[in-house]
């Protein structure tokens, strides 16, 4: 099975990582003593795990984020932060005729312009103020801790939730995919494919199915992946 993993070019990656993994395995970590009898060496990975376990739930992270936004918005509003909206604009130059005079468009009566090309042959661009946004005014921080801000924070809660773009998509998608999974259909498809496929192609097929099932569930997106 291992040899055939190299067949498809993309699988080489998996194969390389896999052989590195096999080398690790010989030294062991999980072939060694159980962690209780020997004091485990604190590696970077142990710290990663330790910190990971200390982190609050993702939902709580967003609560903390919301509180931070409230605090920062109040600071920004009182400090008078402002940022002008910008946009990219193609640099243009008037079209000149042989005498070096601007060519006038007969339909509009305005001088004709053309994009200036950069060294790479693409139109050159520059940053300009975007006056279509916020009535041309710079954006200023709006405090969520003012009376209006706090009223907004409370009154908008239900709307914010039901209008959260991914929510409806995920739930509708999972109504269909979840049923297909729970009735055993998806499992049966996977099993059937694995039965039909010859042994040497099992690893590539497994990788392919993994990608496909990830795509299928990703199309409607999944909780934590």
């Amino acid at each position: 099975v291992r040899d055939s993993a190299g067949v498809v070019a993309g699988l080489g990656v998996v194969y390389l990582a896999g052989s590195g993994h096999a080398a690790r395995q010989q030294k062991g970590p999980y072939m060694g003593e159980p962690p209780s009898t020997r004091r485990p060496k604190r590696t970077l990975l142990d710290w990663v795990e330790w910190i990971g376990n200390k982190l609050p739930d993702p939902a709580l992270l967003f609560v903390i984020g919301a509180l931070l936004v409230m605090a920062i918005s109040a600071i920004g509003a009182s400090a008078g932060w402002s940022v002008q909206a910008k946009r990219l604009e193609v640099v243009t130059a008037p079209v000149l005729d042989e005498a070096g005079l601007p060519v006038v468009d007969t339909e509009t009566g305005l001088p004709r312009v053309e994009p200036v090309l950069g060294e790479d042959g693409r139109p050159q661009t520059r940053l300009v103020e975007d006056l279509t946004q916020n009535n041309g005014q710079p954006f200023t921080a709006r405090s969520l801790l003012s009376a209006d801000g706090l009223y907004y924070a409370i009154s908008s809660m239900v709307d914010n939730f039901i209008n959260f773009p991914p929510l409806g998509i995920v739930l509708v998608g999972m109504l269909g995919i979840g049923l297909a999974e729970r009735s055993g259909f998806i499992g049966a498809v996977l099993k059937a494919v694995m039965l039909v496929v010859p042994k040497r192609l099992l690893t590539p097929t497994m990788v392919f199915l993994g990608i496909m099932s990830s795509l299928a569930t990703r199309a409607t997106s999944r909780p934590s992946g």
Partner: protein, 267 residues
């Protein structure tokens, strides 16, 4: 696989074929529900005809996926006896929704955070000041893309949900990188790389527990740390190789897909 399962699978595949055929017909035959006024070619290419309006089949892709999975699922369930009454079907759906409870809770708080961010204008201020800084820094698009991949991969350790994280990232980074001439398509491509490579090493990924249980069937003494340290080489190799692949793609200057350019050029 039992003969009953093969039988159910046969019926289900038949239904998938029929439903898919019908949906393709509905998108291609003029006057059918999913067909577009621009004719079959437009309906197939899926190119937007106005900035805020896609072809009908693109607009309805989620309900279509719902049907394409639901119908064969039901047929398979009926054929194998998993579904005997209407109530069984409802029960399977309730179970699916119950499994989604964590994301509903997460969505509630993520939505508040994102909307508060919007209300405060801090999102636009961050996008425009960041974008202006990036444009003036003179960093190459490749360097910015690599930085964005690493940023996404790091955030993914904390917030696993792809959609919740993108709702937070997109309003800031899409316009920010557009100011440097990077297309939204390329930004999302980089996002996808960063979002995937660290999934298998973050202790906050709910599925990691499931992987651990399966792993313990073969290595009973394995713990979360064993799993993470086993998978870390994959994360590193994937990050390096996928970033290199994207950079090579950018160097070739190929489009990411039909109508999906690498660079953003204003009209």
């Amino acid at each position: 696989m039992t003969s009953r399962e093969w039988n159910g699978l046969g019926w289900a595949v038949l239904v998938v074929t029929l439903v898919s055929g019908l949906l393709v017909a509905a998108a291609v035959v003029p006057g059918w529900p999913l067909s577009d006024s621009r004719g079959p070619l437009g309906a197939i290419s899926g190119v937007a005809r106005a900035p805020d309006h896609f072809d009908r089949w693109v607009e309805s892709i989620v309900p279509l996926l719902f049907l394409v999975f639901l119908l064969p699922g039901v047929v398979y369930g009926v054929a194998t006896g998993v579904i005997r009454r209407g109530a069984d079907m409802a029960k399977l759906m309730v179970e699916s929704m119950a499994a989604m409870a964590p994301i509903i809770v997460l969505s509630f708080f993520a939505a508040q955070f994102i909307e508060y961010f919007k209300y405060s204008h801090l999102d636009k201020m961050l996008a425009y000041s960041g974008g202006t800084m990036l444009a003036e820094s003179g960093l190459s698009p490749s360097a910015l893309i690599v930085a964005f991949i690493l940023l996404t991969a790091t955030f993914n350790l904390l917030i696993g949900s792809m959609s919740a994280k993108y709702s937070m990232f997109a309003p800031i980074f899409v316009p920010m990188l557009m100011l440097v001439g990077i297309s939204p398509e390329l930004t999302q491509c980089a996002y996808r790389i960063g979002d995937s490579v660290t999934n298998v090493i973050t202790p906050l990924n709910a599925y990691l527990v499931i992987i651990l249980v399966v792993m313990q069937k073969y290595a009973p003494k394995a713990g979360m740390g064993t799993l993470i340290s086993t998978m870390l080489p994959y994360t590193i190799v994937f990050t390096v190789v996928w970033t290199a692949m994207l950079l090579a793609w950018m160097a070739l200057g190929l489009e990411l897909g039909p109508g999906g350019p690498l660079t953003y050029t204003p009209q």
